[in-house]
């Protein structure tokens, strides 16, 4: 199985992004997804600059994929996706059916991100006929659904399967910007407040439980997903790529830990999931649950 770094979901400064990808060149990830997928106002790095950054990463041996906006609200958003699709060099990940259609128009290979709803083998088969070469499983699905989809689709090596396995889970997209709202600002004058929250803004309930993390128009899980214990199961199912979603802290350590686990070293030091991590979705349970920590996963 290969290891991928998903697109940065947060709003980071250009400096932070460039530093991050400089470090990436030396990390043991195989595939790097580049681009803005959440908010069209985040323009620290423009589409053509992402392509340039892609060239640098490709030169250091990474497979580069350009990733695109998830929620398209106007023609300018669509134009931004089109620009990425038209890059002429790299594969493109569509996070919306508009991106899928643009790739079909250009007869280009299609990669779908986790926000494209592929919930069954018949959907997977149809998109394969349209040019799908890799799909990322929707985050709310788990191992049993995945095994069934892959087995029933019976596409062999024609379509690669990728699983979002580490980092805060993208859970929802809205017309409303929750970060701006928390500052009592309208979205049109958000003052780019997300820049001040490189790991998003925590939203707790009245019992201090970190329920969600607000990332502009995106709502993320309060706990970080961690499927490092499930790599063997993924391999058995036929998963080809394991995705780590960038977080502002500890990214290199997580990459290295996952790489060691992929190389067969048992994750002994992490017998249990940390209290701020979750893995429920993978076990067909509420996403926020911690199942690996349970004696009997099946009873979790």
């Amino acid at each position: 199985m290969k290891l991928s770094a998903g697109p940065v979901l947060y709003y980071w400064s250009e400096h932070k992004l460039r530093e991050f990808y400089q470090q990436m060149a030396n990390l043991p990830v195989d595939i790097v997804y580049l681009g803005e997928t959440v908010c069209p106002k985040r323009r620290e790095i423009l589409p053509e600059q992402w392509v340039e950054l892609g060239r640098q990463l490709a030169a250091s041996g990474k497979e580069v994929v350009l990733s695109t906006l998830t929620l398209l609200e106007c023609r300018a958003d669509l134009a931004q996706v089109k620009k990425m699709v038209d890059n002429g060099e790299f594969l493109v990940e569509a996070n919306d059916m508009a991106g899928v259609q643009l790739l079909i128009d250009h007869k280009l290979p299609i990669i779908t991100g986790p926000a494209v709803n592929i919930y069954n083998h018949e959907t997977l088969q149809l998109l394969h006929c349209k040019g799908l070469v890799r799909w990322v499983m929707p985050v709310e699905l788990g191992r049993d659904s995945l095994a069934s989809i892959v087995r029933r689709a019976d596409l062999g090596d024609a379509v690669q399967t990728e699983v979002f396995a580490s980092g805060r889970i993208p859970l929802a997209y809205s017309a409303r910007c929750y970060t701006a709202r928390a500052y009592n600002l309208p979205k049109d004058n958000c003052q780019l407040k997300c820049l001040e929250h490189p790991g998003g803004m925590v939203m707790e309930n009245q019992q201090d439980q970190e329920l969600f993390v607000l990332n502009g128009i995106q709502t993320m899980s309060g706990y970080e997903y961690n499927l490092i214990h499930e790599l063997d199961t993924m391999r058995r199912i036929g998963v080809d790529v394991v995705r780590i979603s960038p977080e502002p802290e500890g990214f290199a350590q997580r990459v290295e830990a996952l790489r060691r686990a992929l190389d067969g070293e048992p994750p002994a030091a992490q017998a249990l999931l940390a209290s701020d991590q979750c893995d429920g979705y993978w076990f067909g349970r509420p996403g926020m649950e911690r199942c690996h920590a349970q004696q009997e996963v099946s009873a979790c």
Partner: protein, 320 residues
């Protein structure tokens, strides 16, 4: 319920089957085969159309249920099937090329290109837009759309792009996509405590109400939480969508239908809301540019709204 909508003047009514194949999977709702037949006959006799909602995402091991729902729709002769799942749309389009297909709001299509996909691949003729576009964006899309568009006019306010919201499954394990339910009633628990009445969803505190406050249903996105050092309705207040005042603009934009949410409600609610909308639409037809929203319409709708407040939601830029 269906009769209430038909009698009050709806042009079309959505129905769903009694299983997880539609996005209103709640006890006491929806139809078995026999009820569906009777209801369709009732609507037909009154020249009202019936649309079958098969708009959840099909699970691989039970796809036959979604197929069966499509088969049954064809057999019943519904006026359209409304679906979101690509596999379900493909099945319907291949097996019944004459079957009229609509794209559900759960399909989350917000751009010309996304609409094109469903039109090209499955011959979809109408799409319901997610509640994420502002009025100018709706107009722009309608001006360029390859297919007819329907928008939400009145009812609950989903604040996330439909078909792409997993908040409910993150907390309860059941989502609109997989199970046809959001913040399901089976996960709700109420507790009276010294600090007030507390609402929980699968053990997670959603809100806490003082004695003089009206306690709303614990929909995940409408609780009071803390963010940026403040406690407030971080995502959204308990409000309902009400777009009566947009009727002229929506009509001029070429929107073919407005959708009223009704299936989780009482027949009295449905009857009242549909009557107001029917009256407003007729009034608009008569008065055109002189159309104004009447106070008693707003009062009637306000009295049945969640939290007794209504909003234009994403149609209005300041809401965003």
């Amino acid at each position: 319920m269906l009769r209430a909508a038909v009698d009050a003047g709806a042009d079309a009514v959505y129905i769903g089957l009694k299983d997880a194949t539609n996005a209103r999977h709640f006890a006491g709702l929806n139809f078995n085969d026999r009820q569906a037949r009777q209801s369709i006959a009732y609507a037909r006799d009154r020249k009202v159309k019936v649309f079958m909602a098969i708009n959840t995402y099909a699970q691989p091991d039970t796809m036959h249920r979604w197929h069966r729902a499509v088969d049954l729709s064809q057999e019943l002769g519904v006026d359209a099937v409304i679906a979101a799942d690509i596999g379900v749309l493909a099945y319907a389009a291949n097996k019944y090329p004459q079957l009229n297909l609509h794209l559900s709001v759960q399909g989350s299509a917000t751009s010309v290109k996304a609409l094109e996909f469903y039109a090209n691949e499955f011959g979809v003729r109408r799409a319901v837009l997610p509640r994420v576009l502002s009025l100018p964006q709706v107009k722009q899309l309608a001006a360029n759309s390859p297919i007819d568009l329907e928008v939400f006019g009145f009812g609950s306010l989903c604040i996330m792009a439909e078909g792409r919201c997993f908040l409910s499954s993150y907390v309860t394990g059941e989502s609109p996509n997989t199970f046809g339910a959001c913040s399901p009633a089976s996960a709700v628990r109420w507790e009276e405590t010294d600090s007030g009445r507390e609402s929980y969803l699968n053990g997670v505190l959603i809100d806490r109400f003082a004695a003089d406050e009206k306690a709303g249903y614990p929909t995940l996105c409408k609780g009071r939480f803390r963010a940026n050092g403040e406690q407030f309705h971080v995502l959204e207040e308990p409000t309902s969508l009400n777009t009566l005042q947009l009727i002229p603009e929506l009509d001029k934009a070429g929107i073919v239908a407005v959708k009223i949410e009704g299936r989780q409600r009482s027949p009295a609610y449905v009857s009242r809301v549909v009557k107001v909308w029917r009256e407003a639409l007729q009034d608009y037809r008569r008065t055109q540019s002189a159309f104004t929203v009447k106070r008693d319409w707003m009062d009637a709708l306000g009295s049945v709204s969640e939290g007794a407040q209504t909003t234009l939601g994403a149609y209005s830029k300041p809401w965003q």
